[in-house]
Amino acid sequence: MNKLNSILKSLSSLRLTVVLLALSMVLILAGTLAQTEQGVWMVVERYFRSLYVAIPFQLFVPTKIVRIPGVFPFPGGLTLGVLLFVNLLAAHAVRFTLSWKRAGMIATHAGVLLLLVGEFVTGAFAKEGNMTIAEGESANYIEDTRSCELAVIDTSDPGDDLVVVVPARMLGQAGGDAITNGMLPFSVRVVEWMPNSRMLGPMQASKGQLAKATAGVGTQVAAAPVAVATGVDGADIDIPAAYVELKRGDASLGTYLVTPRINVPQTVDVGGKRYEIALRFERGYRPYTVKLIDFKHDRFVGTETARNFSSLVRLTDPSERVDREVLISMNNPLRYAGETFYQASFAPDDSGTVLQVVRNPGWLLPYVSCALVALGLLVHFGSRLISSVRRKVS
């Protein structure tokens, strides 16, 4: 029992709190600086939702001044968060007394605990995706813009498409080896993989670039690699591209350029059957359908600055007997089936909308947390302020 008490005591120490807070600051600083070279999602996974992270020394010194190789290990956000959580719980377990004088602090710390839980729930369970819909079209799937898949679609059944997908992760790691699978009608060899890319039109691309593909759209346009989007750019979407050679046995069916930027179907004929191939953002299908009726984008007069944008959509879900029109605009999201649809962006020529679709079971926690902390601190500091004002006045 004594042992347990002494463990609790050391876990509850304020020294530990201060050390953890200091470590958190180093982690947050490193995680911010890392975003000058990496995308925000990569950093979140590596720094803030990990058990530990290897931080390069170079982050803290501009390369112009001196080059420093090497990394140092550091506790990740998950470790620090759990330790702070335990530290806080232990502190209240050891020193718990329910009195008005401590009520403020208890409420504040309960709020902080909730905030930590909220971030954990978000990291573990929240799902974010995009729904891109052109005017007049519908969508019944959500795209995860952080990961791609190579889809091979058998369209021979007029009722249903049969889709086999290869995750982009496998394409990136394949090197020169062919990817084979019993469900694929052909093997896929990755000739070139670009984690982020830009398109070169027929006039921009060189002959050599156009010669990389032997079939499909890639004979007219080309893709070139660009640096991955970084957190400080504010852009968090990488659009990969790949040149893939399709083979049946030893016979080549041609080298194709695939990228989400190509939105016309590219077909391959194999053994009398026609397949479509596409590199596209990973899709999660939904039982409901969203049809874009009208997209509006107002600008301030004489500028390109968006004043407002909104999407008028028709939401249908036969199984739930839902069929209604909804106007989604900035700060006025649609909440449906545990998901929330935000007006996020739009197609370049205003011909379509991009909705951000979020499912986060913990979305309410920060609201409760904020209220608890604000109230708790007001009570705690407020009562002290009042007593010192009283002293001052008397």
Binding site: V18, V40, N331, C370, R384
Partner: protein
């Protein structure tokens, strides 16, 4: 030493009031539209003509000031017979372009750009259109070359040549009346439009507003002051009848820019700070006589400066119809504004004068920072839809900025404590005890405001795009301030640090706050890619080094503190 007269603060008050009255008198100044009888052009009436630029309706005066500021770095120019207001330059550009081409309005600093343009006069940094024009093709070529490099990888030469090219194109746009949108929507179905479109063969606009404006410019070009005055007055009458809101706001904005509330407030803050310094310096000679009187005078100045700054902030809120913090510029103004009352509450507690000195210094410093941030043009620019008014956003920016303010205030009080304590014998007895208490109290408040403000920002983000926290640089910056304040408080509660330690950490808090406020913005322009060339980066690094030196001072053992030695 003789006592200062009791009425000294009253004299100060009278002087300050006279100063304020003179400012507003200058602002309202030639409030009538006239001037024609004396043969002068009706500049006042012309200045008030509303136009639309950057999506905002503003007086022609503001547009001219912003354009000139962007091109030359100043709101005035060297005209015939000395410094002239921007509106005259704009009108000259429209009516006598060949004369305007001789005005030195393009600021070029980079030596390589100057030598490229064969601008050999090393004594000045501003050059005229006709000096630059022979090299337009070369500028275009260089700008094309630079445009293939992303902005953050460009070297200073490429940046300046790109900027210069942008300014020259804009100059042409303005000269050809494609910018700003001057033609007002006076009838149903009309929108703000430029007087000349991009198509030279198109039929010129013949709306009521376009015709009136053409008449005004024609009479201005002919130098017919009487006719111009009449036409301007007529146009204002039409505007008042058909577009009353724009007219009133426009007139008010002209007055406001001429009053320069933030500039004048910064002067008063500076004078108050100097008075405080004098009070501190004379206090060993006559603690009970000069000091209280001088401090009271400083308080009067701070109060008036605060009132003027409040007027400026309120005017911006009225003109924009938005919360007071919309961009980096307004955040600087607001941080100073929020610090002052906080510090005055502290002054009420401690009554040792240091807090009002901190208030005046922060008030002054933040307004200087704001002034340096305003060079990019209109400080009331329109915002992207996502930043549009929203309850959570409005409360977030206000509360979190107050949190930044309080963190700075704690840091600055700690600076006074450390510098005064270590190097001088001025802080005796009660001051040495009161100051650390103030630092602690302000940190408590800062922790509260920065935490709540940051979480409110998360709630806004959740409302707008469903992501409470995204770990992006700006959010992380705010989080750092919160955690830093919490760290100081917990270290003190745990007995790990006392007065001196709190002061040292509070000073380091200045670095944390500055990093979050500016540093995260600088990441975007690539701190890693081209070194310390930007003057803002240089200023930030210098500031941080000074703070580090002050932290080192705080670590001097208490036995060596002169104030403590003097007390014992």
């Amino acid at each position: 030493m003789k006592n200062l007269p009791r009425w000294f603060p009253a004299i100060v008050l009278i002087c300050v009031v006279a100063f304020v009255v003179s400012i507003f008198a200058r602002g309202i100044g030639a409030g009538d539209l006239g001037g024609g009888s004396s043969g002068a052009m009706p500049l006042e009436g012309l200045a008030r003509i509303p136009v639309s630029a950057g999506g905002r309706t503003k007086p022609l005066d503001t547009y001219a000031r912003n354009e000139l500021l962007r091109m030359s770095g100043k709101q005035t120019y060297e005209g015939d017979g000395g410094s002239r207001p921007a509106i005259e330059w704009l009108l000259e550009l429209w009516t006598k372009p060949e004369a305007a081409a001789e005005r030195r309005v393009f600021r070029i600093d980079h030596p390589d750009v100057r030598s490229l343009l064969a601008l050999t006069d090393a004594t000045r940094t501003r050059f005229s259109w006709s000096e630059i024009a022979p090299k337009l093709e070369e500028i275009f070529r260089q700008a094309q070359l630079a445009s293939e490099i992303s902005r953050k990888k460009q070297d200073p030469f490429q940046k300046q040549i790109t900027d210069l090219y942008g300014k020259l194109s804009e100059y042409v746009q303005v000269q050809n009346l494609r910018e700003p949108y001057t033609v007002a929507p006076l009838a149903a179905g009309e929108e703000w439009a430029p007087l000349l479109g991009t198509d030279p063969h198109a039929k010129p606009l013949d709306t009521e507003s376009a015709l009136a404006l053409r008449g005004i410019l024609a009479s201005y070009a002919l130098g017919d002051a009487a006719d111009c005055t009449r036409r301007v007055a007529e146009y204002h009458a039409v505007l008042d009848a058909k577009l009353p809101s724009a007219g009133a706001a426009s007139a008010f904005e002209v007055v406001m820019s001429r009053c320069e509330p933030f500039y004048n407030a910064s002067i008063l803050y500076l004078v108050a700070f100097l008075l405080g310094c004098v009070a501190m310096l004379v206090s060993p000679m006559s603690p009970d006589r000069w000091k209280p009187s001088l401090l009271r005078s400083a308080l009067v100045l701070i109060a008036v400066a605060f009132a003027i700054q409040t007027f400026g902030l309120a005017s911006r809120i009225y003109l924009q119809g938005r919360p007071p913090v919309t961009n980096l510029y307004s955040s600087a103004v607001f941080i100073g504004w929020a610090c002052v009352p906080l510090a005055l509450v502290g002054e009420w507690f401690s009554r040792i004068g240091v807090l009002s000195m901190a208030a005046s210094l922060i008030g002054f410093a933040t307004l200087v920072v704001a002034h340096n941030l305003s060079a990019s043009g209109d400080t009331m620019e329109m915002m992207q839809a996502v930043l549009d008014s929203n309850f959570w956003l409005a409360t977030h920016v206000v509360v979190v900025t107050i949190g930044y303010s309080a963190t700075y205030l704690a840091g600055f009080i700690a600076v006074f404590y450390v510098v005064g304590g270590v190097f001088t014998k001025l802080l005796r007895g009660e001051a040495m005890k009161a100051l650390p208490k103030m630092v602690y109290g302000v940190i408590c408040f800062a922790a509260f405001a920065s935490f709540v403000g940051t979480v409110l920002g998360g709630i806004w983000a959740d409302q707008s795009w469903g992501r409470f926290w995204g770990w992006d640089p700006k959010e992380n910056g705010a989080a750092l301030i919160v955690v830093w304040n919490l760290l100081i408080l917990h270290a003190r509660w745990g007995g790990m640090i006392r007065d001196r330690g709190v002061a040292a950490l509070a000073i380091a808090g200045n670095i944390v706050t500055s990093w979050s406020w500016f540093g995260t913005n600088m990441l975007g322009v690539g701190l890693h890619s081209y070194g310390f060339m930007d003057s803002a980066v240089f200023a930030l690094v210098t500031f941080c080094l000074v703070q580090l030196a002050l932290v080192a001072c705080a670590l001097v053992p208490t036995a060596r503190w002169r104030s403590l030695a003097a007390a014992s």
